[in-house]
Amino acid sequence: MKSPLRKVLPALLLVLMVFPAIAQELDLASFEKRITVKKLDNGLTILVMQRPEAPVFSFYTIVDAGSVQDPQGQTGLAHMFEHMAFKGTTGIGTTDWPAEKAALEKVEEAYAAYRAERYKTVGRDEDKVKQLEHAWKDAIARAQQYVVPNEFDQLLESNGGRGVNAFTSWDETAYHYSLPANRVQLWAYLESERFLHPVMREFYKERDVVIEERRLRTDSQPIGRLVEQFLGESFATYPYHRPTIGYFSDLNYFSATDAKAFFDQYYVPANMVVAIVGDVKPAAVIPLVEKYFDRLPARPQPAPVHTTEPPQNSEREVELQETAQPFYLEGYHRPNYRDPDDAVYDAISDLMSNGRTSRLFRALVRDKKIAAEAEGFSGFPGNKYQHLFAFDAVPLPGHTPEEMRKAIHEEIEHLKTTDVSDEELKMVKTRAKATLIRGLADNAGMAFQLALYQLRYGDWRELFRSVERIDKVSKEDIRRVASKTFQPTNRTVGIIQTIPGASNPQGEKEQ
């Protein structure tokens, strides 16, 4: 039973994975021996973890910048750059770099002229817009002749790269793949090269691809449409209100020059962590990493986000009238992941959502028989900054969002007024440990966790130390945090109401 919300937000799912504890069988000391951390002079941090199960390795590069960093009027830019990071370099993907470079500069000049005319509100000359658009497209065609299409991808795939991919969330951008263990040097070269000599080639075609991605994930999905509206309503000042994919108007506006400026500002070595896990020896990997990644120039770290969300003093609600089946979502503001109560929120999420013993499953699905699934979880839409603890539920046919709202609130009240049982609390802690253990047998998953914790806490050990934090969560903590957070005035609600449409003439009658 995969939550519909998490299906819409695969990146979110990754960010949501919490590994809050370590089992007694696996102590931190044993990991100290397997993990090497190297901070380069330019500020880049690299972690190497040995896991010699098979001659392969996986890595994650995480950049501490996501769509939250998109400039005003250029939503989607962080994600757009992520796509561009697969377009090759000055040496890969071109037949003649000096000629291509000159041609790409012409494209940008032409686009700037076209854009300047197109967005004039006074004195715009439509003929001139057409003419400038034409000139821009001609410039693109001239640059295209130097392109070796998809050469970077082909290089990775034909060398045995698996899972060659990346994702952008509100909080960060991550790049990852796996290779056979004999290709560490190739990896170190390519992964550093893509951030040393990036080229914004085929930018405007790729922008069309990203716009198709928006149509697929947001515009053509009922829950995608709801989430965009819901987040817009939930946050007033904080950039979590903007979609990572970007708005149409912004996607049709920004330029390759804008993307390169974003890169220059945020893809700073001190703002990045690389973790590599698998059949790799630090003695062999570290010199290669130094040789190649040392080439990245040190640059000043971007300023942290300082805006905070003002207190929400009244309940907000968005309702979408859709021909699709109904859906219920609500969210409450909570502090960021560094909050002392972070582990308490994790415990509440587990208690409410994890498995058939969870509070919401037992109440809404098993006993009341009004929902097919229901869950409550932290980290929506990210967790680096103040964010939401959200609840959602999928009504059974014939049942309404209103019934979901009422039933979820009953469970929340119960959490505030009655202590959880000893058994429940113990179960939460046991499951956290087991989840961590199960995650250890996966190179890519470990690389992601290590890189993320190193980035977020400055120390990968926090991944394991969080055992103490979750083990310390008490019944009182749960009541206290629930009472503090789950208040009506701190709530935003999102609803899909079903109305008849051409494709479902009878509709699903709401009662």
Partner: protein, 493 residues
Amino acid sequence: MNRRMSLAVLTSVMLMSLLAAAQQPARTTSDSELEKIKTPPLPEFHPQIPKRVVLPNGMVLLLQEDHELPLIDGTMRIRGGSLLEPADKVGLVDIYGDVWRTGGTKDKTGDQLDDFLEARAAKVETDGSSDSTIVSFSCLKPDFEDIFKIFLDVLQNPAFREDKIALAKFQLNTSIARRNDDIGQIARRVSTQLAYGPKNPYARFPEYSTVAAVTRNDLVAWHQQYIQPNNIIFGVVGDFDSSAMEARIRQAFASWPNGPEAPKPQITFTPEKPQLYFIPKEDVNQSNIQMVSPGIERNNPDYFAVEVMNYAFGAGFSARLTKDLRTAKGLAYAVGGGVGSAFDHPGIFRLAMGTKSATTAEALEGLKEELQKLVADPPKGEELRSAKDTILNAFIFNFDSKAKVLREQMAYEYYGYPLDFLDRYRAGIEKTTAEDIARVARKYVHPEQFVTLVVGNPEEIGDQLKRLGAVAKWDITIPPPPPSSHAAGQQAR
């Protein structure tokens, strides 16, 4: 926002996961630094093959020791699945696969099992699929004996309590009610029907009436008929000693006699005639295009050449479909496809693509052109080498964990494939030539024989499709629940 759209979003094309070990540099570029990088040979690696034991009652055990972590996981795959359920009770195996576990055992309710297992962060689960059912467990090593006892209890003494049957039906009815909400789900479901025929057991799906028709007696009867040791392959992986585990399992099943074998389903494949079908969906701005024609079985000697062709044509970022339709034309975020294959029945040769309403016809024409080009100008030279490298250099990922090796071996065992199938696969890929590719392209790629489906916004698409020829309708209206039943769940309160 992943950069790569997994094909699964648009289609369920099954492209076998691939992999391998050629040592030549994978390709040349104009990058001089890259040319200097040496790739040493991959160290010799012999994947650990599970210990195979056949019990006197016919159950096949595969025991795979893995001492990395203190965990033990086991899966029984049992012959017989939804292909064998009656047409007026479609959904039976789905409900069975749920209630087998949630309905509890003679001694314990499903809720009691939930409490016991989750307190130990352990799982015992059951599931149903088209050709088999599954019962599995997963636990921390110190809990093994406790969890294994529950596993055995679920396997041998399920109670199928009525309250959980009702719950399973609610869930299934919810998915029926929602099956037309998601454009990708519509496209996947209907294109499979077009490829196999709407009544084909691989393509049919439950309705309110077929769900309502399933009774507890059906579940009990299914269990009695199919859960026989000689229908079972039991794979266990984790931190145990094989001899001790074998002894424990032998003891558990010593008194279980064999029973009737599961019959082989007799299935006919009747593709719809090649034409263009359209399904309107007003609340989208992107069309989902599917083109389907028959695929192959994996034991076909052409399988290896077809795999190489698939890689060059439609799998991955450097394949033709991505290069031409996504990168060069910017027509799609998600595009891909290839000749699908399955172990024991023909797969589907499927192309899938999502494009904005305004470029629906252009995208369709683009896919057709790619098919024609695949026959007229099949991959050779550098393109062929790159596709083979992609498979062979990643071959190691076929067995980079002991659990993965066990899963592969279970599949070969289940479908009667040689247990060294992966070795044959590698050899087959290595010896594939340009002539082989040209031959399989001629043999399997028939652009005029594809059935095409477009799901999209009729107003935005306008007359684009009509200009391509006749457009047939395909009705996806959900038949309402039978009046007498409480199928849709309204009786719940």
